[in-house]
């Protein structure tokens, strides 16, 4: 089966994906899948979605030639897909704009979401505010601390932020808590998952809504450099920004797809968040995928400077792409990310999110393998205002 046609009718990408959830949720997943399938090819729905993307989000996002960064490496031309310029500052809004339309069609009055870095929480609170819907965001207490700017933004938007203290108090635990809320309030509530993770049909829905990024890039590449990109780089936590930009290119074999995971303190230390590099297939949050787990099947703790990548699992379609060798997955550690963060600020006048800085950090290793006649694209998944406190702390600066 071609990757383009996945997932299959049970929600699997090869052996990955599926719906591993408590029985109470099965009906809601079926309801969601039915709604999505009926609306996916509906002209009115698509018109509404694209109008919101254009008028509310500000799409299309530009494809920008990073001249000084290109000169710095002296190899392939580096282009930036500017998702950081979207309303709310990241790619996350593409998905929430789409999913809130599903919620509206399903008549749901209450919206819940999990968030790590807070970008998905902000994007969810934003679309809920716009429709006047009650909104609850689950966020690990550790992330509430390190992403306090986004917590305040969510509150301004009228959302209630629930700090989650269980487990490792990060993204994984926020997801657990959101799932528990959903089980409890199943009939009234729409759960907007923020990445290409979770049970089917979420990985498919989130991918499809984010695929607008890759679709735009096809046209922009032809227009600006007259061919397909030679390679596309994107950071991978759950993997929604990467999946969105990769997906329309899967069928173009000449385009290299490269995901960059968070190696935290280093892959060898075990303190990282890089399941595709150093994990094994397992089941978490309703889907089978590569997972950081121990020999007895317990999920391991993660470490990353970036809250948005600090997750032990990854979207099932990435696991499929890895096993098929259609995408490659690298990893960079925290100190490389900090260097890249500075470099992009200084050379391009762009403040990338720490998540996004992972993709930039991989250039050090990747660029020497490219040539001057090539064009590569980095998905600038989000802007880094939210990370100022973390960076100041890392560098011992008192703001």
């Amino acid at each position: 089966m071609k990757s383009k046609d996945l997932p299959d009718k049970f929600g699997f990408y090869g052996e990955y994906g599926g719906k591993f959830v408590p029985e109470t949720l099965m009906f809601a997943l079926a309801e969601l899948e039915e709604t999505y399938k009926s609306l996916r090819d509906n002209n009115e729905f698509q018109t509404e979605f694209y109008r919101d993307l254009s008028q509310f989000v500000g799409r299309p996002s530009p494809l920008y030639f990073a001249k000084r960064l290109t000169d710095h490496y002296g190899k392939a031309s580096i282009w930036l897909k500017r998702e950081d310029l979207n309303h709310t500052g990241a790619h996350k809004i593409n998905n929430t704009v789409g999913q809130i339309l599903l919620a509206k069609h399903m008549g749901k009055k209450r919206i819940i979401a999990e968030t790590g870095a807070g970008q998905h929480g902000v994007a969810t609170a934003t679309v809920a505010a716009r429709l006047g819907l009650e909104c609850h965001i689950y966020m690990g207490t550790e992330d509430v601390r390190r992403q306090s700017l986004n917590v305040y933004r969510m509150k301004l938007l009228g959302a209630e932020v629930h700090a989650v203290d269980s487990g490792s108090a990060t993204l994984k635990d926020a997801l657990n808590e959101a799932l528990r809320d959903w089980v409890t309030n199943i009939e009234s509530t729409y759960y907007i998952i923020g990445s290409v993770t979770g049970p089917h049909p979420y990985p498919m829905i989130v991918r499809d809504f984010n695929a607008v990024v890759g679709k735009e890039l096809i046209d922009q590449s032809k227009e600006l450099f007259g061919k397909m990109p030679d390679a596309i780089l994107a950071c991978v936590g759950g993997g929604s920004n990467a999946m969105g930009i990769f997906y329309p290119f899967i069928e173009y074999d000449e385009v290299r797809l490269i995901g960059v995971e968070a190696a935290g303190e280093g892959l060898k230390t075990g303190n990282h968040a890089a399941p595709l590099n150093d994990g094994t297939p397992g089941i978490l949050h309703g889907a089978k995928s590569y997972l950081m787990q121990d020999e007895s099947g317990q999920v391991k703790g993660t470490a990353s400077i970036s809250a948005g990548l600090d997750y032990p699992g990854v979207g099932p379609e990435h696991s499929w792409l890895k096993d098929q060798n259609r995408a490659q997955y690298a990893a960079v550690n925290d100190s490389q990310v900090v260097e890249a963060f500075h470099l992009v600020n200084k050379l391009e006048g762009i403040l990338p999110a720490l998540e996004t800085a992972h993709a930039f950090a991989y250039l050090e290793e990747f660029m020497p393998t490219t040539s001057q006649d090539e064009h590569i694209v980095i998905n600038v998944s989000g802007r880094g205002d939210k990370d100022i406190n973390t960076m100041a702390e890392v560098e011992g600066i008192d703001l």
């Binding site: 719906k19 408590p22 099965m26 487990g167 089980v183 409890t184 397992g282 099947g297 317990q298």
Partner: protein, 261 residues
């Protein structure tokens, strides 16, 4: 026939309600779990459900989540749980034991589940879709029943499929929510259990959120028995310091009496 089949048959013949008790293996430690298992049987428990701790138990409310965390801090793993079962079986060969937990640890430890004569009578995997069979995940032991959950939101079509894939008994989830929640809709529970019983000959146990003897008595009147989890786990936690679990015994004895009337 395994222990579970024998107990369920016996109960049916005598027209008695079944009492299933849940505790998390390794909470507060494995020695206490062993004592508690015997104590529960003495108090009148018919079937023991041993929770296998998992880092991310998404169907559990706060009480059982914390018990999972405590057990994991004591390094409770599948192997040590099997040792616990072996020790229990030395003096109690007959009380059915069901392992309840999450698919990731069950798949990882399938060899232990598939082992012959391991003392286990049933498994209940919370996050396996009801239309799949455990054999699809290479968990395949003829002596072990595969128990499934049916919830208030399960469609009629699915009830049929789930029943076909299950053995032992059906665990009817009495509410929308995680373990330990409250707010029953009694007429809905009665209606749904009747529906399941029309489609299956298996006994139906009611669980999730049963706290008081009154809850237990009412739900037992609609079903073949009840499952008590969070209340027991909570009492275990409150008495873990002194490891004096007399109050657990009293509570379970009261429940037993309530459902036997």
């Amino acid at each position: 026939m395994n222990n579970l089949g024998k107990v369920l048959n016996h109960k049916k013949l005598n027209d008695e309600k079944v009492l299933v008790a849940y505790l998390v293996a390794g909470d507060p430690d494995l020695e206490s779990s062993l004592d508690l298992m015997h104590l529960l049987v003495e108090a009148g428990v018919d079937i023991i459900e041993l929770g296998v701790p998992f880092t991310d138990p998404i169907a559990e409310g706060p009480v059982i989540q914390k018990a999972h965390d405590r057990a994991l801090k004591k390094n409770t793993d599948f192997k040590s749980i099997m040792n616990l079962v072996n020790k229990f079986r030395i003096s109690n060969p007959q009380t059915p034991i069901i392992l309840m937990g999450y698919i990731n640890t069950f798949v990882t430890n399938k060899k232990l589940i598939n082992m012959k004569d391991n003392g286990i009578d049933g498994v209940l995997v919370v996050d396996i879709p009801g239309e799949f069979n455990l054999a699809d995940y290479e968990i395949n032991n003829k002596k072990i029943d595969s128990i499934s959950l049916i919830s208030p939101t399960t469609s009629d079509d699915r009830i049929k499929t789930i029943v076909d894939q299950s053995s032992g008994f059906i665990y009817y989830v009495t509410l929308r929510g995680v373990t330990g929640s409250s707010h029953f809709d009694k007429s809905e529970i009665e209606f749904n259990i009747k529906k399941i019983k029309n489609l299956s000959n298996m006994p139906v146990m009611a669980g999730f959120g049963i706290k008081t003897t009154e809850d237990a008595a009412v739900l037992a009147s609609y079903s073949d028995g009840v499952v008590i989890g969070s209340s027991i786990v909570d009492l275990i936690d409150k008495n873990s310091d002194k490891k004096d679990f007399e109050s657990v015994k009293e509570y379970v004895t009261d429940i037993k009496e309530a459902i036997s009337q």
